[in-house]
């Protein structure tokens, strides 16, 4: 990549251009390591900016690069820290957040470009924890060197139990919420595609156009009126599920936020209706409220009794003909397994589909031996693992068929 030519102001312009190009290439690598999706076009535009007079004003260059390289809010929040660390040699703040204008830096010009005789590719101005040499191999993952450098893609197959780093947990939560959003969008789009038949309603068209002497001036088209898909989630919040509860709560928060029609219940030794608590705008607050409700561990799990409560008091209100009930549980029933079987059968008669998600299903050597799960399985339409983002993603095509 080379800088586009501007009017020469230095005798050794080429040398400066080379230096700028090398430093810019290193900066792009740093951004890629930090999870930015930077392509060739962005690199060329950055070179254009450097040669258009932006390079001598760090604040202006920071703002310009920020707009050019960011593609989402997480990039936007990280960018200033990365830029300052690379170009101005400042230490990276964790989670740099800027509101409003860029803080003015005292640097009159970019380090390493102040002096024409600066060493080529010098890494003096680069913070210790950033790659500075130009021979860094492409495509290294930046994990461990920078905060938030991992991408959601890396988390897709990680079992939720194994997420210990708070940043990763936060990222998984974000990804779960995004997944709920994406699911809803695609599902409603399929609804629309199904409805968008270009079918004329001849009877109504003729009737409407009687006043025009029967000439079909205004056309009436048929539209199928579909009921929106309703998702009802029953989440097991017992002790044995504790490693998964918070992430599923986040997923459900996303689902309730995005689906036009969704309801959520928690159960352990009893059933709690939590849709209202989940409708908190702020996910963190919603989770706080729910974690209090979810504290029922220790008394075992009474899935059968919880389902009985659901069938008796809630089912008629929340279930209609296009409903899918999603039960998230490991199936360890400490109550009466026969009751669970009966209630599952009753529930199955009411709704279109029952999906049972069992996080343990993906564990090596796991077989559904628990009494509870054995009694429930005959009445389940889809029995699937749900221990990673990938397994949640795999559900969507199934829901789309409903």
């Amino acid at each position: 990549m080379s800088c586009c030519g501007s009017s020469p102001e230095f005798d050794d312009l080429n040398e400066v251009s080379k230096l700028v190009s090398a430093r810019l290439a290193a900066f792009l690598r740093t951004l890629r390591d930090a999870g930015f999706r930077v392509g060739l076009a962005e690199g060329q535009d950055a070179a254009t900016l450097m040669s258009a007079g932006y390079a001598v004003r760090p604040n202006l260059l920071r703002a310009a690069f920020k707009h050019l390289f960011s593609a989402r809010k997480s990039d936007w929040d990280k960018f200033d820290g990365l830029f300052d660390a690379f170009w101005l040699g400042k230490r990276v703040r964790s989670r740099s957040r800027t509101i409003g204008s860029v803080p003015t830096s005292s640097n009159p010009s970019l380090k390493g470009l102040q002096d024409k005789s600066a060493e080529q590719g010098s890494g003096q101005s680069v913070a210790d924890q950033l790659p500075s040499s130009d021979d860094a191999p492409e495509g290294r993952s930046g994990e461990g060197r920078m905060e938030g450098a991992s991408r959601a893609d890396n988390l897709a197959d990680v079992d939720f139990r194994k997420l210990s780093d708070p940043d990763q947990v936060a990222e998984a939560h974000e990804a779960a919420a995004q997944l709920a959003r994406a699911m809803r969008t695609r599902l409603t789009r399929r609804d629309l595609a199904r409805r968008r038949g270009y079918r004329l309603d001849l009877r109504r068209t003729i009737h409407r156009n009687i006043s025009h002497g029967g000439v079909p001036i205004s056309l009436v088209k048929r539209q199928r009126k579909d009921k929106p898909l309703r998702l009802i989630v029953l989440l097991d919040a017992s002790g044995s599920m504790s490693m998964y509860t918070s992430l599923f709560l986040r997923f459900i928060h996303g689902v309730l936020d995005q689906f036009r029609e969704a309801e959520a219940f928690l159960f352990h030794t009893r059933l709690a209706y939590v849709s209202d608590a989940m409708k908190e705008r702020d996910a963190g607050r919603a989770l706080d409220r729910l974690s209090i409700m979810a504290q029922g561990a220790g008394g075992g799990t009474k899935i059968g009794e919880s389902l009985q409560t659901f069938n008796r008091w809630h089912a008629s209100r929340v279930i209609h003909s296009r409903s899918c009930v999603m039960i998230v549980s490991d199936g360890y029933e400490t109550g009466d397994a026969a009751l669970l079987g009966r209630e599952m059968a009753a529930l199955h008669r009411r709704c279109r589909r029952i999906v049972w998600l069992n996080p343990m299903m993906a564990w090596e050597g796991y077989a559904p031996e628990a009494r509870g799960i054995k009694a429930a399985l005959p009445h389940v339409d889809l029995y699937a693992p749900a221990n990673s983002l990938q397994s949640l993603r795999a559900l969507e095509p199934y829901l789309a068929k409903l």
Partner: protein, 288 residues
Amino acid sequence: MKGRDEIAQALAASGYIADAELATAISLMRLLRRPLLLEGEAGVGKTEVAKALAKVHATELIRLQCYEGLDQSSALYEWNYQRQLLAIQAHRGSDSIEDQVFSEKYLLERPLLAAIRRARAPVLLIDEIDRADDEFEAFLLELLSDFQVSIPELGTIPAMTIPQVVLTSNGTRELSDALRRRCLYHYVDYPDVDRETRIILARVAGAGPSLSLQIARMVEGVRKEELRKVPGVAETLDWAAALVGLDVSNLHDASEIVHETLICLLKTHEDRARVTPEVTQRLLGKVA
């Protein structure tokens, strides 16, 4: 390169108080020929940016409001079916009518087609792109890179001018990477006290500097409360206008009116219940 300071001044003159970063983004739009994607919470003034931009360039603003199920015919062009039918009825028996009914005379321009057929480059605002679906986004991406439209009956229509494109998104759907990378990205946050004060001064006639500052501080306090709907800039301006209309010049002297008029900021029953008179007093206590 038009400097960001000049752009900030021009925006201010048109009634939009921009921060330095946004002014930079606008100066880059022309230089790099990229659309600008504005993301942020509802009510932070994303749409206003496009309106101000059109004022600054003294050009037309063409707006395309996106919604679920938006398709090409509502966004790009449509044939005027009724008119075509009437023409066919009127010229029954004429052979040339078939060619005529698919001429420009019978074409209905929708925002995207209008935006590339103006003699003076307009500002094209694609509002709430996240509400449209993936296919529409893909089609839009194609249009934003080629700036030409193919109409089967008419052929390819190239752009007469290239519009300045502003897209807004509230993040209800994750946009594709391709679209994000095509655009310059700017996250519009709630303004800080200083900028909100200047916004009130610029937009609400009769609000003096001290009242504007008090209102901005009060709103900042309200935003920190645990609300379901955080008030945006539009709500702040409504509230400021209400206070000015009720002859309030100092919030401390009119705490009752302040509490009653908070309905301008609080838009749900729960939020209204949450901000009790005691909370209002506490917030007022923090306003110097």
